[in-house]
Amino acid sequence: MKTLSDEPGPKTGARGWISRVAGRAVFWARTNLFGSWFDSLLTMATLWVAASIVSRGLLPMAALDWSVIRDNLKLILTGSYPEPQLWRVWIAVLYVSLFGGFSFGGAGGRMPRSLAIVAAAQCFLFLAPISTSSKAYVACGIALQLAGFFSSRLLDARARAWIAGAAWISFLPLSFFLAYGMTGPDGWMPVVATNYWGGLLLTLMISLTSIALSFPLGLLLALGRRSSLVLVRAASTCFIEVVRGVPLITILFIAYLIIPLALPASLNPSVFIRAMIGVIAFHSAYMAENFRGGLQGIPRTQYEAAASLNLSKGKTMVFVILPQVMKRMIPVLVSSFTGTLKDTSLISIIGLLDMIGISSAIVSNPEYMTSSTQVLVFMAAIYFVLCYSISSASYRLEARLGVTTTKAGGL
């Protein structure tokens, strides 16, 4: 029987193309993978490691029963937050969608890639097995995002900056108000005590608040440490050094145990507030040291130049020094923001059901007792998405401000 390869003639058409590509691949492998005996050894070792990761790690994982995630999605995202009140959390999400899209509007002529990625992720979520009402909210989110994006392009840059700034500054107070509520149990917006908050909602509430508050507090502490007033300087230095010298777990325990004993019983703050105080104190001390580093990097001549323009001390700080400090500090700030986000997982040891706390609660349910791998992998994925989006946003910001010339990472 005559087969294809027996046919004479020049290597043209699809067959020729295949053999050309194969030839090139062999050549590439020879030069890059098997150049010397040592290279070959390394290649084989790497392949073996990769193969065993796939066969022993990834394949068994894909074969696991992932229904635990679908069944407990509500728990992972919001903890024990009462189901009839979930619309309030959704409003906060929609708010982010609207102003997220709005803020992207200024980014350039065409639709930026990140917005497209977010929209694609939302479309994917829309197809995922979630309840019909959640799908409606997700669809609403996509629509609002696009609406925000296009409406912001109708405005000039100044108006856009003002609106976006106001929206983001009011976001945290607004979401607290939405999540906590205001009326009695029978009103239209009943109070949901913080011990019902959990999962991603709790993680985000604590980490975003501590990022938002440790930033100004850290700046004040750093300035206090450089102050000429002895008392202010001593107090700031003392706070920074004591807090930095103690692990976060200890700070959390102190906050948990000491605050209620120090305060009168009627003021007894909830564990949520106590944890937040601990996390904020810890991160503002670190932030203060970041700022100190940034401040020290500003050459003396900048102060002298400002002084020669007859600027007061305060004006020198606000208009000359701090803008330069901020710009330099973006990479440091981003790494401490992602650190804050991940550190909040420690609050589970004082009984708060954040993403880590909720994952051990889920696997205590008799139905899901053998699913701890799935739950932990899913939690890791959520943390990765959050931290990666923070850092990629900062790369964009750095690029736009011209802080770095080298291209920072990215997948």
Binding site: E83, L257, L263, A265, S360, I362, S364, N365, T370
Partner: protein
């Protein structure tokens, strides 16, 4: 100007501390005024107290909290659950953050006195033992010489372990864990030779593991672990309510009164104690500050001890925990309710 500021600060601190003195009111009053009970519970103890997929709490200990809420409000849903770790559970009670602690707390003298707590009669008589691999050949505690033993930190189990090993002159390496989840993963991955905890907890966890038959709990019970509810010192009225609610569950089982037949028994029973118990005559509830039908409500809406136990830990569940001493005195156990007279 500066001095005025200091005076203002001092003044405000003083006013806050004067007006914010802790109120020594009764807990029952505070709970009634608030409209719900605050119970300190576990959030991740399978069978005993855990979260369902929709975010609500479930389990044997949760039922005890519901019974208490029913006794007070005639509504099992009037409870706010406060998840606690084993380390912070007593502090939460001392600081007044919770009204009652129902979180597998072992009743000991030190806790009763030093921590200023009042424990009720135990709701479950547990005891510490060891879980080992069947093929390890370990049969008695003496076989554990030199073993690595996993234990939860902050539990009585940790202390008992070091006591009994020291008493027998055995060497061991403790492997401490903060959460049951981590401990489980480490133990079943073979990082420890044995795992020590209360028998109920060992049984509950081992049963969930796919290779449960490869593991065995040692016969020996090395400690007494009476699990009891706890309240703060200084409010005897509140203590009585918590205590007698538990007795109501005991008496329900002892007399065979269940949520299904309670209406019939209430209508027909001639037993004077049952009549007093269910509020047919002698409004006993009022002596506790509760409604006359409080015990009837508890049995009707939550069930008696046996019903509650079987719902989450009994033979119908994957845990199938043996009740051991936790059966009514009429069956040779230790669940004994004083007379409802």
């Amino acid at each position: 100007m500066k001095r005025i500021a200091w005076v203002l600060v001092l003044f405000s601190v003083l006013t806050v501390s004067v007006f914010a003195q802790p109120k020594q009111g009764s807990t029952l009053e505070a709970v009634r005024k608030r409209g719900y009970l605050i119970a300190g519970v576990n959030s991740s103890n399978a069978g005993w107290a855990y979260l369902k997929s929709n975010g609500s709490y479930e389990g044997f200990e949760i039922e005890l909290a519901k019974a208490l809420a029913t006794a007070i409000f005639n509504d099992p849903s009037k409870v706010q659950y406060r998840p606690l770790t084993s380390k912070e559970r007593f502090t939460a009670l001392q600081t007044g953050e919770i009204d009652v602690l129902i979180r597998t707390a072992t009743f000991t003298l030190t806790r009763d006195t030093d921590l200023a707590l009042n424990f009720t009669t135990p709701y479950f008589y547990d005891g510490q033992s060891f879980l080992v691999r069947k093929d390890s050949g370990v049969k008695t505690i003496d076989d554990l010489d030199g073993a690595t033993i996993a234990v939860l930190t902050g539990s009585t189990g940790e202390i008992t372990l070091s006591d009994i090993m020291a008493a027998r002159g055995l060497k061991y390496k403790p492997l401490l864990f903060e959460s049951l989840e981590e401990l489980k993963n480490a133990f079943f991955a073979g990082r420890a030779d044995a795992w020590t905890s209360d028998k109920s907890s060992l049984a509950a966890t081992a049963s969930s593991y796919p290779n449960a038959k490869d593991y065995v709990t040692l016969e020996a019970t090395v400690s007494k672990e009476p699990l009891a509810m706890a309240v703060r010192h200084g409010d005897d009225g509140w203590y009585d309510i918590v205590q007698w609610t538990l007795y109501a569950l005991f008496l329900g089982e002892e007399k065979g009164i269940t949520s299904a037949n309670v209406d019939k028994i209430k209508a027909s029973s001639k037993d004077p104690e049952i009549q007093a118990f269910l509020g047919v005559k002698d409004a006993l509830g009022q002596k506790l500050g509760l409604s006359p039908s409080w015990a009837y409500d508890v049995i009707k809406k939550v069930g008696n001890y046996e019903e509650v136990f079987n719902r989450y830990l009994g033979p119908g569940t994957i845990f199938n925990i043996t009740r051991g001493l936790s059966v009514p005195w009429t069956k040779g156990g230790l669940l004994y309710s004083p007379p409802f007279k």
